[in-house]
Amino acid sequence: MSASAAIRLQVETALAKRVPAALTLKIKQAPELFSTGIAEVDAVLGGGIPRGSITEIAGAASTGKTSFALSSIAAITQSGAACAWVDVSDALSPESAAAAQVVMKRLLWLRMSSDRKKSVADKPWSRLEQALKATDLLLQAGGFAAIVLDMSDVRPQDATRIPLQHWYRFRLAAEHARTALVLLTQTPCAKSCSALALRSEPSSVQPFSRNGETALFEGQRYRLVRERDRNESSALALHLKKPSTRAEWNAETPWSRVR
């Protein structure tokens, strides 16, 4: 045994009670991934969104966050697992969810109650508190494969004021419960707690009217930019070629499927 190996063994033995295997390189397991149901995005993310960690999708309105989340939830519920949608602004459209092929019986929808007399945007804090508490309860209970915390309509100045301790707790709880927690926000707020940070952007505009036909809204083209992926190293081990950080994808309206 070489001198360095002996010293290493000596240090590890001394620290064994406090830090087991202190100087041994920990082999990181590739996380289990949930397919998002969008082939272009799955290719960029190396398979999908990671289980047991936080995925944050930030972007302005009409950039495809909800469509992306619904597509992911549809794929997960179709696999037989249960999911939850914590809806801060009570904005989920059940018709859209059904059209996205979400198995509705496996989706728990939590609608935050807003004060009817006031505008929805006026009193975000009580709803945010409710949403954070509800998410905490769901993560502690376990058993949900994915939970979407939809804060898309919460103003950035309110979302960034959520104490970081919430995100730390959610990260640990999600890891413990093996739940994929998906945050939909206008601006990133989970900071380093999110294992995967995505930015959604509008892509090229698809005109309503093509070739002089009657104008009809048929769909949008969105772009998703991978800002940070903590599991990228493990993904790299699987994919020899470094994947692109941008994915462009199309979303259609339900009536354009008929055409």
Binding site: T66, E95, W109, S113, L137
Partner: protein, 495 residues
């Protein structure tokens, strides 16, 4: 040891008890659909006049001085309930002898300590029945059927020492054996009048002539007929009740939970003894001022653990607290077969049922009843045509992956937000929303939708899909115009 109480001519006794003035008069009871009513019972005075069971009403009315009454089944049931209660006072194991109305058999083994020996017990039983206005014969014997026959054949109290049933039955007429008409005719032709004469016949000869019925009758006449007692047991569901009166009114729920814990524990013990679980619990709180507060907790799956049940009760009562101080409380449980599930190693993740139930109750308390659950779409084109249903995910099962394209989701504004719209040639050109001025860059529509035109709840609107833009942002929305209120509003944003 069995004691059998038999009220002879039960229907007539009940009628006389209901109308005491009939006791000294001759009367007969008729039953059936008029005009085909027949006499079903008659008191001693009427029988001595010549009235017999089976006569028509008209025949009965021909006898002078005999009152003809209609039989009242409800009164008989009430009287039977009285006899049942009396029988329950003397033994926990009683059986109703269905062949004879009002007749009960009591298993009195081990009752000596409470009621004395068999004679004393029988006398006390008869005395108690007489106090309630009925006459009954009581017979005590080791053999069940012998006791029944003796109660039918002998008036008053009859006690038969073990092993002497045949001697006791010897002089009784054959009708105590509940013979069929055919057998009665046969025995009459043979000259057999008493049980003793029947018992004296050779069993094999009797079987060769009457078959298995002959064997049964021979055993009955000798007092050795086997009988397996099926005691009447109180209905299990009725026993799942716990009541508690409080010494002083209680305002807070917390002290109440200690009592609820104790009561729930007792109920669970009872349910578990039958290998069952609790399907639902109804809590009835009697409040100060005479009001009553009732809540029902119905978990998705039957529960058999106390902490979960107690937590559900607590959360439900906290969500719906009583309006006044509590004076007493009652807990009614309903049993159900416990949930059994075959889990698999390779099945997808699913919430654990008991835990999920508690979490859902917590969430309902936090958000409200109607804001937690799954969605069920209604067959309607009206916006927000859905209803919330309790979240109960089906067992994990993989469904076929669809190959349809990704959908553009609509984020709905609830309630719809009113906006200002500037029109150019009946087409929106500018939208004023939430303090912002948006120019309409593209527009598609209008899509006119309406429904319920046949009722007062009719609705109609014109929908437009618009691409709104400011200097630095762009969004695609669905705006709608309501011709009734002449108002524009945003239905939602495509995201």
């Amino acid at each position: 040891m069995y004691a059998v109480l038999h009220p002879p001519n039960f229907a007539a006794q009940v009628a006389a008890q209901q109308r005491p003035e009939l006791r000294k008069r001759a009367f007969a009871l008729v039953d059936g659909e008029p005009p085909a009513e027949v006499v079903v019972a008659a008191n001693k005075a009427a029988r001595s006049c010549g009235v017999e069971a089976g006569m028509s009403r008209l025949q009965g009315e021909t006898f002078p001085g005999v009152i003809i009454l209609r039989r009242v089944q409800e009164d008989e049931l009430t009287a039977q309930a009285i006899l049942h209660t009396i029988a329950c006072m003397f033994s926990p194991r009683i059986e109703y002898v269905e062949s004879y109305a009002g007749t009960y058999a009591l298993d009195v083994r081990g009752m000596n300590g409470l009621f004395g020996d068999e004679t004393q017990l029988a006398n006390k039983l008869r005395q108690r029945i007489m106090t309630n206005g009925f006459l009954a014969n009581v017979a005590v014997a080791e053999n069940f059927d012998a006791a029944v026959c003796l109660a039918r054949g002998r008036t008053g109290v009859s006690i038969v020492p073990p092993g002497q049933e045949a001697d006791a039955l010897r002089d009784l007429p054959l009708h105590v054996l509940n013979l069929s008409e055919e057998h009665a005719e046969t025995f009459k032709a043979w000259g057999i009048r008493t049980c003793g004469q029947l018992a004296a016949l050779a069993e094999t000869d009797l079987i060769s002539r009457l078959g298995q019925a002959g064997r049964r009758l021979h055993a009955l006449a000798r007092g050795i007929s086997p009988h397996l007692m099926f005691p009447i047991e109180p209905r299990f569901e009725e026993s799942l009740v716990e009541r508690m009166e409080l010494d002083f009114p209680v305002d807070l729920l917390e002290p109440l939970l200690f009592l609820l814990a104790r009561m729930a524990d007792a109920l669970l013990e009872r349910v578990k003894s039958k290998a069952l679980a609790i399907g639902s619990v109804r809590v009835v709180l009697h409040l100060d001022g005479g009001k009553q507060h009732e809540r029902t907790v119905r978990p998705a799956l039957p529960l058999d653990d106390k902490p979960t049940l107690l937590k559900l009760l607590q959360l439900d009562l906290e969500t719906h607290p009583p309006s006044a101080a509590i004076l007493s409380l009652e807990l009614y449980a309903q049993s159900a077969a416990p949930h059994r599930a075959q889990h698999g190693l390779f099945l997808p993740q699913a919430p654990e049922p008991g835990r999920l139930e508690v979490v859902l109750a917590r969430l309902r308390k936090l958000l409200g009843e109607e804001r937690v659950g799954s969605v069920e779409l209604k067959d309607d084109h009206r916006p927000n045509a859905f209803r919330m249903v309790p979240f109960a995910p089906p067992p994990p099962k993989r469904t076929e992956q669809s190959s349809l394209s990704v959908i553009t989701a609509l984020r709905v504004c609830r309630p719809p937000q009113a906006v200002g719209v500037m029109l150019v040639g009946n087409t929106p050109s500018r939208v004023f929303w939430d303090g912002e001025r948006y120019s309409v860059r593209e527009v598609a529509g209008p899509w006119r939708v309406s429904g319920q035109w046949w009722s007062e709840a009719n609705w109609c609107r014109e929908e437009w899909d618009v691409r709104l833009g400011t200097q630095n942002a762009e969004r695609v929305c669905r705006i709608a115009y309501d011709p009734r209120s002449r108002c524009w509003y945003v239905q939602g944003t495509y995201d």
